[in-house]
Amino acid sequence: MPDGAMPVLDVRDLKTVFQTRGGEVHAVNDVSFALRPGELLGVVGESGSGKSVTMMSLLGLLPSPPADVRDGQVMFGGKDLLKVSMDELRAVRGGEIGFVFQDPMTSLNPVYTVGFQLMEPLRKHMGMNKRQAAKRAQELLELVGIPDARRRLDDYPHQFSGGMRQRVMIAIALACDPKVLIADEPTTALDVTIQAQILELMKELRDKLGMAVIWITHDLGVIAGIADRVMVMYAGQVVEHAPVKELFGNPQHPYTRALLKTIPSIAGERAARLTIIEGQPPIMGAAPSACPFRDRCDVAFERCAHENPPRYDVGHGHDTACFFDARTGAPRDA
């Protein structure tokens, strides 16, 4: 895809804060990114780095209170999703933007049949009648590779295995031909062989249907195989962002480099957990006034404790939020 294409989704300076008993939690801090038509954007970061909260903020899916999307712009189809009416937002949710969540075991309603849950968005967004919706629902189940689709429409979620349930979730997200599919760790809760199957299915569907995908994971190994571009998040910020080859070949941020080291080099072996990096990601009680990674960073210097680094452009569509220039091996000019 050409670099200059108009993005389908353009997020600027998104800021989300939780009001909790213990004070504020700044979960998303000035996140900006653009998603181009048909591309697959990978989002990586340790658990708690704000990936889910960022994506749910886009569609107003966080319960408020405690969540408060304080600032920013989410441009989609010429409109700012943070400003549109509830009805307009609902037309986008499940219609133009599909969402797949992490845990397929709890994401479906246990008391309604899979067919019913699949037909709901079809009837709402596409104005289908019952017959049309049932037909389309069957096609969708076939599309995501569920055998005996017609009969399984009448089954309840508990009659499906975890992997099959996640396929149902994907079918629901794809029901209305969305322009964007957001998949929030869709394979994390599944076992390894099923993970691979779902991944394969997603690649196939993306080629077939051509929608843009945001794929959240904490597994860099997964990202390497499917993403066009990658965004690395830490403490609710984008710390590095680059085309996938560039990120793996030329990582700039110390956090990204640490993450890459946690992938075992022996091919085929499963990536080790990211928590191998010493220390814990901080919980942000206030908007960051210093680099949130400095305590765990091996190249941190004085400036990192006083200022939060902006995203520096390093060429080839690559940027990084670090005062230390990995190319020169020295701090950037102030």
């Binding site: 949710r93 709890t106 994401s107 479906l108 709901e120 508990h158």
Partner: protein
């Protein structure tokens, strides 16, 4: 499901027999003498003969067997005869009250409508008020509405009906004179005016009982809704673009009702217990009052029969609750 129901019904027979035995033995052990209310001038040996005439001379197991036989065989026969005009019973001895010397079931049939009107209506009203309160309280947690709901249920939980009953009588009957303080059971509804009077005399007892039901059921409803509102499938429904009313009334409510329906079914027997006191306060001559009088008069057949009917109701409601659970929750399969 049918298999399960039949199995449960069969299994409930030994349970009920055991309950009957326990009630019977408890009544045996309890002090109290059916002749206790007789004038002191009646000589002791006459009293003794009267006791024997009531069948009290027999050993307890004979009397227990007789009661079982009468309850399970003779009374249903009379019942069927009454409906179809047959003659199965053939003049067999029915369960007779010590006090009134008339068949226990006739008296119960006379008293039941009053209790059903007051108790049944109060339960329906209580549940009908409780469900929306629970739903809204959960959806708008910590709002003014929720706080008010919490306050009202706290009152419902902590103020016993013998207090709230007397309180509303003092306010609405004595002070304001709006409502009658005594329930007139002979009252017949024939036209609009009499219907209005029936409503007026029902309001206070119904509300006093309904307050308790509302307090409990609304708390359950609220807790169950809150449980479900936080579930992942709710987020999925929202992410599909469903409106809030669909999310709450279709997705959340259906799941939340599963435990609440059980609570509602299991609460039916205990509301009859609550009616005993409320009926005393408002002078409703229903089953509750009948039971109290029978207890005071040591009218063992009457007490035994009413208590056992309550036990049957409890066992039955347990069964209904379990069956409803299976109907509402597709994850539960009994067969």
């Amino acid at each position: 499901m049918l298999n399960y129901t039949i199995r449960r019904l069969v299994l409930s027979i030994p349970t009920l027999l055991f309950i009957a035995l326990v009630i019977f033995l408890l009544l045996e052990l309890a002090p109290g003498d059916p002749m206790g209310q007789m004038p002191l001038t009646i000589p002791d040996d006459v009293k003794q003969r009267m006791r024997e005439a009531l069948g009290l001379g027999e050993p307890w197991y004979t009397r227990f067997y007789l009661w079982l036989y009468q309850f399970f065989i003779v009374e249903p026969q009379y019942w069927i005869d009454g409906i179809f005009g047959t003659n199965f019973a053939d003049g067999a001895q029915r369960i007779i009250s010590f006090q009134s010397r008339s068949p226990v079931f006739d008296t119960i049939a006379e008293r039941l409508p009053q209790t059903l009107w007051v108790v049944g209506m109060s339960y329906v009203v209580g549940v009908a008020i409780a469900l929306p309160i629970g739903i809204i309280s959960a959806y708008k947690q910590y709002s003014v509405f929720d706080q008010a709901g919490t306050f009202v249920s706290m009152i419902g939980f902590s103020v016993p009906p013998f207090f709230s009953g007397v309180l509303v009588i003092v306010i609405f009957s004595v002070q304001l004179g709006w409502l009658p303080s005594i329930y007139d059971t002979t009252h017949q509804v024939v036209d609009w005016e009499t219907f209005k009077f029936q409503l007026q005399q029902m309001i206070m007892p119904v509300m006093v009982l309904a307050l308790q039901t509302t307090a409990q059921v609304s708390r359950y409803m609220r807790a169950s809704m809150l449980d479900n509102l936080g579930q992942d499938y709710v987020r999925t429904a929202r992410a599909k673009g469903m409106s809030e009313s669909v999310v709450v009334m279709r997705h959340v409510l259906r799941n939340s009702m599963i435990p609440v329906v059980t609570v509602i079914a299991l609460g039916i027997p205990s509301i009859f217990g609550g009616a005993i006191i409320t009926e005393q306060v408002f002078k409703v001559n229903g089953l509750g009052q009948l039971l109290i009088l029978a207890l005071q008069g040591a009218d063992i057949p009457m007490v035994m029969t009413i208590t056992f009917l309550l036990a049957v109701l409890i066992v039955l409601m347990n069964l209904i609750a379990d069956i409803l659970y299976g109907v509402l929750d597709p994850r539960i399969r009994y067969d």
